[in-house]
């Protein structure tokens, strides 16, 4: 658990980066600090491992005042991940990851064995261990940065915009990987970002900061969306927050049967037909053909997003993005199980609201 008690940071030039911050980060959760640039997120984060010392106030990590601990010793017990990873260019990937165990006095052999394990944990082939950071992609470097932070198995992890320098696809991978890791490791993670979508996706609790280091709201993601504390939070979480709320709603949406056909099959197209491969996975839609036709790859209209039963947002998006207005539902193996309709999603939403499941 990390507690900020009336923490203020004023820099020498008079800038008040953080102002009387009171906040408790629960043990075993991912807490996200989000807010516009310059609002004091990094400063708040760096006060936890004493990369910056507060002007006044107290920070407790697991009940211990950080100011009573010698900074290097404190930092070895707190994982730290920064933007662009900050790997040591002159050390191999394996030695980068082994840094903290070695600093903590492990012997070289044990530290390296542990480092190799960690590469696997963060989803990197251990063969990468022999490479140097310059020989990795940005996303791979970021994974190494996470592995390095986890090496000595610290209970607390501080992450400052760790995924902001990679492209959106890789970022999503890394986010999912972090969620998967956290499910296994159960660390206390403070994650800084200025991307509200990232905050809502990763955070169990989200602290919205506003300029001057003021805490505007500290709440669960769905609460930020459904009940923003003020106009600042409302505008920061964005216009389509009603739509985003659906991310946190899980309700049954009726799944309808759908006409499917395989490539090369001869069929008579009546209305929209879903074309699938041998494993029954969706390939695209077919329509607007008169009489009997042979299903060819060229005639397919590519489909929208797929709904895997996750949340109402996924169901609605699948329906809205599909050329047939039918959202394709898939099972864990990616095989088609039916389709959903936007109307049904809206009705499911109305039902959930009536049942009091939608937070106000």
């Amino acid at each position: 658990m990390i507690e900020f008690r009336a923490v203020t940071k004023r820099f020498e030039d008079g800038t008040i980066a953080v102002d009387e911050l009171d906040l408790t980060v629960e043990a075993g959760t991912i807490t996200v600090f989000v807010g516009p640039s310059g609002c004091g997120k990094t400063t708040s984060l760096r006060m936890v491992n004493r990369m910056i010392d507060p002007t006044s106030g107290t920070i407790l990590v697991d009940g211990r005042d950080v100011l009573t601990v010698d900074p290097p010793t404190l930092r070895r017990g707190i994982g730290y991940v920064i933007q662009q990873a900050g790997l040591f260019p002159h050390r191999t990937v394996l030695d980068n990851v082994a840094t903290v165990p070695l600093l903590s006095g492990w012997d070289k052999r044990r530290a390296r064995t542990r480092a190799a394990e960690l590469l696997e944990i963060v989803g990197l082939d251990p063969a990468f261990g022999k490479r140097y950071p310059a020989q990795l992609s940005g996303g791979q470097q970021q994974r190494v940065g996470v592995a390095r932070a986890l090496a000595a198995d610290p209970p607390v992890l501080l992450m400052d915009e760790p995924f902001s320098a990679v492209d959106p696809v890789v970022r999503e991978d890394l986010q999912n990987e972090l969620l998967r890791l956290q499910a296994e490791l159960d660390k206390t993670i403070v994650f800084v970002t200025h991307d509200i979508d990232e905050a809502l996706k990763l955070g169990e609790r989200v602290a919205v900061f506003r300029k001057g280091g003021h805490l505007a709201q500290y709440a669960k993601p769905q609460e930020l969306l459904s009940a923003p504390a003020n106009d600042f939070v409302a505008s920061f979480v964005g216009r389509d927050r009603g739509y985003r709320t659906l991310t946190f709603l899980h309700a049954d949406v009726p799944v309808h049967p759908v006409a499917t056909a395989k490539l090369g099959e001869r069929i008579t197209v009546a209305d929209w037909t879903l074309v699938v491969d041998e494993q029954n996975r969706p390939k695209g839609w077919l329509s607007g053909v008169d009489g009997e036709v042979e299903v060819g790859e060229d005639d397919l209209v590519s489909g929208g997003s797929l709904y895997d039963g996750s949340s109402l947002r996924g169901a609605l998006d699948a329906a809205l993005s599909s050329p047939s207005a039918l959202g394709v539902v898939v099972d864990d193996a990616g095989a088609v199980t039916g389709v959903v309709k936007a109307d049904d999603v809206i009705q499911a939403l109305a039902k959930a609201r009536a049942a009091g499941e939608v937070p106000k």
Binding site: R76, A85, L87
Partner: protein, 221 residues
């Protein structure tokens, strides 16, 4: 020159080419060692703390502006003939490039890596010794090799104060009007400079992390 250089008589005895070569190499290496011991810690410390950078640059420039022969003569007048004035003059020549290279090298280390070094719990000495210096090595070597070339060339003036080295051939040749000997001395100096530089290039290859080589050439071996 060829006749003088390849005369076997000049390749033996206490005033022969091998002895003079070794003397010259001795001046060079000891000078570089002393200069490195002074310049690397200074440059690294100032680069690490970021304080006094202007002083380092000013000092380097002032030292560079000193004419080496003038320094030599002054020290001879003060301390007499021998090796001592030679070392003073040569060390003053070698310090600025090594110090500037070290300072620039440490300053140029990726600030993210330095921040991360502190963030994972290295002490300041560890940040400097285990992250900043290893990453600064290419630039430190740059300054050092530049200094080495200057020192090899300039160590010729040792002969001026009655000491040894390849400069003997140049100055004796001049005194005796033996241009073959002078030229041979000069050629030997140039040759030694190339060899010394090759030696340090090899040392650099052995001691600089492959991770710091320019992209495309480094790493997997």
């Amino acid at each position: 020159m060829g006749a003088w250089l390849f005369d076997p008589a000049h390749w033996s005895g206490p005033t022969g080419i091998p002895v003079r070569l070794l003397e010259h190499l001795g001046y060079t290496l000891l000078t570089l060692l002393i200069a490195a011991v002074i310049a690397i810690p200074l440059g690294a410390f100032v680069g690490h703390t970021g304080r006094g950078g202007f002083a380092i640059v000013g000092l380097s420039n002032a030292l560079r502006a000193l004419p080496t022969t003038a320094v030599l003569i002054l020290v001879v007048l003060w301390a007499g003939l021998g090796d001592f004035p030679v070392y003073v003059a040569l060390v003053l020549l070698a310090v600025p490039p090594i110090m500037a290279g070290t300072y620039a090298g440490v300053r140029a280390v990726d600030p993210m890596a330095v921040d991360a070094a502190r963030g994972v719990g290295m002490r300041e000495s560890g940040v400097l010794l285990n992250v900043e210096i290893p990453n600064a090595l290419p630039l430190i070597y740059g300054g050092f090799r530049g200094a080495a070339l200057q020192v090899v060339a300039t160590a010729t003036i040792a002969a001026y104060t009655g000491a040894g080295g390849l400069g003997r051939f140049v100055f004796d040749g001049l005194a005796l009007q033996e241009f073959g000997q002078m030229l041979a001395g000069a050629v030997l100096v140039a040759l030694l400079a190339v060899l010394v530089d090759l030696g340090f290039a090899g040392l650099q290859r052995l001691t600089v992390s492959p991770g710091l080589r320019p992209a495309g050439t480094g790493g997997k071996r």
